[in-house]
Amino acid sequence: MKNELIDYVLHLADTSLILGQRLGEWCGHAFVLEQDIAITNISLDLIGQSRSLYQYAAELLNDGRDEDALCMMRNEREFKNLLLVEIPNGDFAQTLARQFYFDVYHELQCQALLNSKDERLKAIAEKSLKEVRYHVTWSAEWVIRLGDGTQESHDRIQKSINEVWMWTEELMSTAPYEKELIEKGIAPDSSSFKIPWMNKVKEILKEATLTLPADETKQSGGKVGTHTEFLGYILADLQHIQRSYPGLKW
């Protein structure tokens, strides 16, 4: 059971870290300063949440690796993040579609973890939930603003809402390491998010005058370490200083 818990905590940590890293790529590049700051604030929250989770994973592992080692010295196949969070930023619409789908899921997940029998996961979720509520408000507002904006903004957010859709099924999937944790009341069953997630997505897309994408090709695998070609590049960017100069400190 302990190994399953470690895998699950790493899955949560890796997902927050990789999305935080992706959003950090916007720093200094967003279309207005206020939104540059908003995106990097969300990035900071996610990286902060991943730290709490990596610290917990390091304690469970108890093999001498600390939070930095788990973040900086693991290989691509060891990462268990959702595929959704590793896809490229694209334009603002693509970043936003990815963020919106994730935030709606993340809020449901944090809420469900408040009932976890694992006190530590419960505490991290309680802390994170307050932050995630700001994230989902921000991303849902922007989906509406672009969807119900100009023809150009409408078309571009619709295109991204459609293109990112294929990565969302994994959010509601269950990895082998989650099964026992679900039975023991430690992890929520991700498939239980499906209905509330879909309801919220539909509600926001309707207000944004956007159409729900058709169910087409779906791709999953990140939760068990099978990634897209994009993750390696993210890790190269994230890890190369620690790989080149192990243990280097500021």
């Binding site: 206020e34 309680e126 802390k127 932050e131 509520r133 408000t137 507002e141």
Partner: protein
């Protein structure tokens, strides 16, 4: 022998590195101070998960207390920090510094909490962004004196 009160006093001297007018006690992040068998037990909680000030604050507490007493410093996440724990004195200091203290209001999409301008007290202000210069602040502008200002987000 250092007493609990003396430890609180020393902690009062440590300011938040990002908002130097506030002490960590004003901010409400010191949750427990206790002395048992000659060891000081101090428990702190972060404002936001990614708050970069936490490491600096931990180092400051270490250097402030360890010359006097053995220190056992720990961090707890639950119950999660709330702006309700900020002291009244802290809220006044914030306002005097030009940051509007936390104002509660309806959350959710496209809602705007009315925050009075900390400089001219006008309530005719507008939200520029939910996300400001640090994780704990949102960004406003006063429609009367036109001054931009930070609002310390109400966090519950």
């Amino acid at each position: 022998m250092v007493t609990i009160d003396e430890i609180w006093q020393k902690l009062e001297e440590i300011s938040d590195p990002e908002i130097p007018v506030l002490s960590i006690v004003d901010l409400g992040i010191v949750r427990v101070v206790d002395v048992k068998e000659g060891v000081a037990h101090v428990v702190i909680t972060p404002t936001y998960s990614g708050c970069p000030a936490m490491n600096v604050i931990e180092e400051e507490i270490q250097s402030k207390l360890t010359p006097f007493i053995k220190l056992d410093l720990s961090t707890q996440l639950s119950p999660a920090w709330t702006t309700d724990w900020m002291s009244e004195a802290g809220k006044e200091k914030l306002k005097a510094y030009g940051i509007a203290p936390p104002v509660d209001g309806p959350g959710g999409m496209f809602s705007e909490v009315k925050v009075p301008c900390p400089r001219c007290d006008s309530s005719n202000t507008k939200l520029v962004s939910q996300f400001g210069s640090t994780a704990c602040k949102s960004f406003y502008q006063c429609n009367d004196c036109f001054e931009p200002f930070d609002h310390f987000k109400c966090h519950r």
